[in-house]
């Protein structure tokens, strides 16, 4: 056995990412690792590459226990990871990037350029890549960069290659090419752990497949013995619906309507969507399908290039977040630590930031009003914090999210866009946020819910729009929606 993980556990801030995951990788196999977003794939990779320390369990390489793993150690032991976004130095040449990876040149020696270049050339030829060793990495295409990463892994004679969605940004031809090289590596006895969202690919390249769900290994199968439908079922699971009872709110007039919305920089194409007052519309899709980008375009961060946005039937121009705010939109972004809250500010200043005008008379802030409103929201949403003057950076993820929510609820939006509102927060805070969404819908707020969590989308939404490759490929009513269907649409597979 080349690489083994036994009972790996890992929690972040008390949120379980991996609960006792075991997995083995043989020499000369391509082992696929799949699962929904948040299933624990990334964490498991990070455990292998030493980027995070597991809370429990062990890793064995060639049967020897690997203790105190860290990136440098994993690298020396021959575990190389190739990420979706290659980690290369863009301003250095291919040969230099490879030489840095091997790290066997003496610091104070003169650089032996001919050897460096020859070696890079040799490695690149080996994998059938026609890239000049002298080319700057910044001038290479995405697939070429991935090939350089593979060459790097070969240069250090890695025995384990972890490939994280290597084809996510590749076209068909490049994907073929990559697969040819992966097969060659397999033939040479490398163990390849292959992470992908594209199920068809797995049937083409993988030998075995392991499915992760909610931090558990729900099964490892021979790829020949499973069907795509089975894999989808394994990924999604069946225990849904019970935790969060959906409130039945009769939808009102149309609050937000998009007609033919395009956003060039993000490759968002021809999006048509309408949300009524009191309605929760789920926006499902894989990471990279354009869900967040659509929200950002709507909110004026990257204004739309074509199409029209109507709010309560009136056409509006949204060129900046300010416009969006005035039009009655609110957007709670995905990355709350960077975009949702300002960590260095106390809770009170954070919650009022989007509505400063309401808290200022002739530009003078009414600190008392600010504090009392913050206190009201703190009580209502139950922020777990000593006072409203507590700095936001000292709060847990769930509480930061509540602060971000409060900031936007104070603006009394007509339309609320929530991007992964419960990502990385505990179950308790999750159910609180779900209840809040229900209450808001009852009050007539139109909610667009972006989420990668299938159960969340399915139980909370009145309708579900599925995005793939920048387009809404289908809109399902709550009754017609089921996880298999959504995942199939999101993966871009034809409905069979």
């Amino acid at each position: 056995m080349l690489l083994e993980a036994n009972g790996i556990q890992k929690s972040y801030d008390g949120v379980k990412a991996l609960t006792s995951v075991s997995l083995d990788l043989r020499a000369g196999e391509v082992h696929a690792l799949i699962g929904e977003n948040g299933a624990g794939k990334s964490t498991l990779i990070k455990v292998f590459t030493g980027a995070v320390q597991p809370d429990g369990g062990e890793i064995r390489l060639h049967g020897d226990r690997v203790d105190n793993n860290n990136p440098a150690r994993a690298h020396r032991l021959g575990i190389s990871a190739i990420y979706q976004q290659p980690a290369l130095f863009p301003h250095l040449s291919v040969a230099e990037n490879i030489a840095i990876a091997t790290g066997d040149e003496k610091l104070w020696r003169r650089v032996d350029w001919p050897t460096r270049v020859a070696r890079a050339e040799h490695l690149l030829q080996h994998i059938g890549a026609t890239i000049s060793p002298d080319a700057l990495v910044s001038s290479l295409s995405m697939v070429e960069r991935q090939l350089v990463e593979i060459a790097k892994a070969l240069a250090v004679e890695a025995s384990v290659l972890i490939m994280d969605e290597p084809t996510a940004s590749l076209g068909q031809q490049d994907t073929r090419n990559l697969f040819r090289i992966v097969r060659e590596l397999r033939a040479r006895g490398k163990g390849i752990l292959y992470i992908s969202h594209r199920l068809e690919e797995l049937f083409e390249i993988a030998d075995r497949v392991t499915v992760l769900r909610d931090g558990n290994n729900v099964g490892t199968r021979q790829i020949r013995e499973v069907t795509p439908e089975e894999l989808i079922r394994m990924m999604v699971g069946r225990e849904l619906e019970t935790l969060y009872p959906k409130l039945d709110v009769p939808p009102g007039e149309v609050a937000l309507e998009l007609r033919g919305v395009c956003c060039e920089p993000f490759e968002i194409r021809n999006v048509n969507l309408a949300i009524r007052h009191g309605e929760i519309v789920g926006l499902a899709g894989l990471v990279g399908s354009g869900r967040t980008q659509l929200a950002e375009a709507l909110f004026g961060l990257t204004p739309i290039s074509q199409g029209n946005i109507y709010i309560e039937g009136k056409g509006v121009q949204i060129r900046s977040p300010r416009d969006a705010l005035q039009a009655g939109l609110a957007y709670v972004p995905e990355d709350r630590r960077h975009h949702g809250v300002i960590l260095e500010m106390p809770i009170s200043s954070n919650v009022t930031l989007a509505s400063l005008n309401h808290f200022a008379k002739h530009g003078m802030l009414q600190r008392r009003a600010e504090r009392s409103v913050a206190q009201w929201w703190k009580d209502r949403l139950r922020f777990n914090a000593p006072s409203v003057e507590t700095l936001t950076k000292n709060l847990s993820g769930g509480n930061q999210q509540k602060v971000a929510l409060a900031r936007w609820l104070i603006t009394q939006p007509k339309i609320l866009i929530l991007d992964e509102p419960t990502q990385g927060i505990d179950v308790h805070a999750k159910s609180e946020i779900y209840h809040l969404m229900g209450t808001l819908a009852e009050k007539g707020v139109a909610i667009l819910l972006i989420s990668s969590e299938m159960s969340e989308i399915l139980t909370l939404s009145d309708r579900i729009a599925v995005m793939a490759k920048g387009e809404i490929v289908s809109t399902l009513g709550q009754k017609d929606a089921n996880p298999d269907e959504i995942l199939r649409l999101a993966l871009g597979r034809k409905v069979s």
Binding site: P321, A324, F359, L365
Partner: protein, 316 residues
Amino acid sequence: MKQQLQTTWPALIALGALYIYLAFAAPGFYSAANLRDIALANAALLLVATGMILVIVLGQIDISVGALFAVCSVTCGTLAKMGLPMILLPLIAVAAGTALGAFNGALVSFVKAPSIVVTLATMVAWREALRLVTNGAWIEGLPTTFQWFGFGQQIGEAIIIILTLLVFGALWWSSRNLSAGRAIYATGSDPEAARLAGIPTDQVAFWVFAVMGALTGIGALLNAVRFSDVPANSGMNLELKAIAAVVVGGTPITGGCGNFLGTLIGVILLGSIGPALIFLGVNPFWEKAIQGGIILTAVLLEAIGTWRGRRAVELA
């Protein structure tokens, strides 16, 4: 406020130590005349440093303030000599400073050029332009109405000190109590988050540079009226002193936080060293070296603070 005190204590301890030492080693330092001289000599620095707090909170830097100071000083001097009524000069000083600052601000916020490069360019440009125009000659023979605003030395001195403290206090208050102040802190902490919250971050940056210029203009005028002539090279190294005072006062150069009290102490500390050396009978050429040492210590303390903070996060 608690945080502000935490970052203030190193400067406060250094200042306390210096003043206690001086009480024993050179009691003459405590003469009213000397203390007044120190206050007068550093009033302009305090004003410029106050603007610099805002710029640094914004996450930017302005190294052109010395050159701006010189342009404003010479402009005031020249106009006074030409017989412009004294009452108009403060307006001129503020207008000139604001215009020059706004020019920096426009390049930084709308053209999106990095502030260090923009203000490096304007620093050189204004300095050299001034040298061309004046040929390096001082503006001499200023009318008597100009010196001390025509009120005589004592009243003039009082005006300088009171006005400086008033402006300083007003900005300190505003930074905490105006929504504009809040917008500066939000933009400096996290420009993207601020933009998402509907704050016009570009306009915020523009106005901060404009205010920086206005404060430099006021500082230039208050400084110029103390003398009978205006040197063409006034404000030399002012940007360095101002940034140093802010950093020594516990404001991190990375933006998002500002310490007004600390900056006041920083100005007093850096401004006291030169006179202290004279009273202690030490070669005054040591002044720059000691100032450098103080700045280095402040930066080291900040680095240790961040390092500790980061470790605490990692261990948590």
